[in-house]
Symmetry: C2
């Protein structure tokens, strides 16, 4: 059993049988959605759905609900996971990625046209699932997140190859492209979980956690090892995506400060060399430290909130799991 599995086991134990039941229901519904919308989607999406992933966002939905679980909670969990998958499928088209989680991507199997349409379909089904709950507040939460994800992608394109991006702008990008859906997941949990009064603090918990998640992911892209990421070190650099480690390193190492990314990073070897240089400055430790500050803020948000002990414990474990994942 690896760390992630152990962590998941601990969360499930803290969340009780209700959490396991809801997660099973989510899996079953995701499979139904993949099979129930035409042979084309079934072929392209089933693999993506079955490949799993951590189901971190559905878990946040459930853990932010009170125990008296509403049937619509599973619909919300399915919706956030479908939206997440839609963005992964589109990202794989954009990155021309052949593999994800060790399986061929929709892009690799069906080409960019099928993958773009599959992503659009998953998008649509996310909203369809949530529409079935009849909650305008919920649909609004999902569409706000969905817009933010797309804006984050646009911003990343906009900022490509711009070495001078500020930490503030980088953080805003993380908020849009990752933290917004974490936040929405928590909010949806409160909406259907009879916890509407906690929408703001639990939403903030999700947002802080999402920021940390993205920042640690960006550190891992520079630090490796590649066995963990499934892609060469410095994949972000090869894309022209300027993340916090480089932003910080440029201030610490004058030569990196002068770096012309586009001219220098012409292949994986050059990207690896820049990663090594970034690591030498100590920027990775600093970026990691900043990410952990967000995890601490997320946990601190919980302390001010009245929650059953087992829920608080489970949410704390999810927060620790995000850190562990990148330890």
């Amino acid at each position: 059993m690896n760390t992630t599995q152990a962590q998941l086991g601990a969360v499930l134990a803290a969340g009780g049988p209700e959490l396991s039941r809801l997660l099973h229901r989510t899996e079953a519904r995701l499979a139904e959605v993949a099979e129930g919308h035409g042979a084309e989607l079934a072929r392209h999406a089933s693999g993506t759905l079955a490949a799993g992933g951590k189901r971190l966002r559905p878990m946040l939905v459930f853990l932010c609900a009170s125990d008296a679980a509403d049937g619509r909670l599973a619909a919300a969990a399915v919706a956030v996971e479908l939206l997440h998958m839609a963005t992964l499928v589109h990202d794989d088209v954009l990155d021309r990625a052949e593999l994800r989680r060790g399986r061929p991507t929709v892009f690799a199997e069906g080409g960019r046209l099928a993958a773009t349409a599959t992503g659009d379909l998953l998008f649509s089904r996310a909203f369809a699932e949530l529409a079935a709950t009849s909650s305008e507040e919920a649909v609004r939460a999902l569409s706000t997140a969905s817009s933010a994800l797309a804006r984050g992608e646009l911003m990343q394109r906009e900022d490509a190859w711009r070495e001078e991006v500020t930490p503030e702008r980088y953080l805003e990008r993380c908020r849009l492209k990752t933290a917004s859906l974490f936040e929405a997941s928590c909010r949806l949990g409160t909406i259907f979980g009879d916890r509407g009064d906690l929408a703001a603090p639990l939403g903030r918990f999700g947002e802080r956690l999402g920021l940390a998640f993205q920042m640690l992911d960006d550190v891992l892209d520079v630090s490796g090892p590649t066995e963990r990421t499934g892609k060469p070190r410095g994949a972000d650099l090869l894309d022209g995506t300027v993340t916090l480690p480089l932003i910080l390193a440029r201030r610490l190492d004058p030569e990196l400060g002068e770096l012309d990314l586009r001219a220098t990073v012409t292949g994986p070897a050059q990207a690896g060399a820049v990663c090594d240089r970034i690591a030498l400055t100590g920027a990775l430790g600093e970026a990691r430290r900043r990410a952990l500050t967000h995890v601490a803020e997320a946990k601190a948000t919980l302390t001010g909130v009245e929650l059953p002990d087992d829920r608080r414990a489970a949410l704390d474990l999810v927060a620790d799991g995000v850190v562990e994942r990148y330890a």
Copy 2:
């Protein structure tokens, strides 16, 4: 004044000042959406939105509502137009199209990454607009249409280069990729226009009209002239998209029946030659005749429905406009 403009003038006259007011409000809101979600969207989407188009789907929303107009009608109209635009932006990425309506596409200006994200953002905003109406029925109608559009795209990919596609399967593809949003537009009009009792017949009106629209569009791709389409004749053939004219022509001309599309249509000149051959069989006339049958069915649906005279007249004019557009 060209035919389309004359037709539009006639519809506006029949629809009264309320229709003009609502269409203006739709334009204003579309501009707001384009400007209000970050500098990136503003740059990429403003052009697309401003380039106009016929706003046929918003018009259907308004014309299927009763006169006692609900403020949410404009939101629904904006939502269907945003969804339509999202699919156009994604289609342009897939087709690597440089121009649409005489303007550079988002793909041409921003590249495929920006265009994919812009499409996703327009998608999200469509649902966000509709979420503001608090109508679950409306969100469901839009997500059903949105799923159908994506399924239609997937089916088209699936059927690419398959000369043996049946007319029935072709029709199902038209229903998914075009008619579903026409139908949803009409249904949304009835939902917010105090005409819920007419959702089924007016939805059917939209669906039949959408089928005709797509079928006539496919005829035009073969018949030209290219000034009307803005792309070379036989663009569908070059894509491997088998449409009704070819399906019918293959039955009439044994040599076309033997045609290996992928091996034959290797460039615009060869596509033009196949178009000429299709035209010689008389298949274009037959395809057009079938499309007109759907227009007649659409109009016949209206006769069984209690509608104010001016509304019926306006809807009839919209139906005629679809035919005129391709005359």
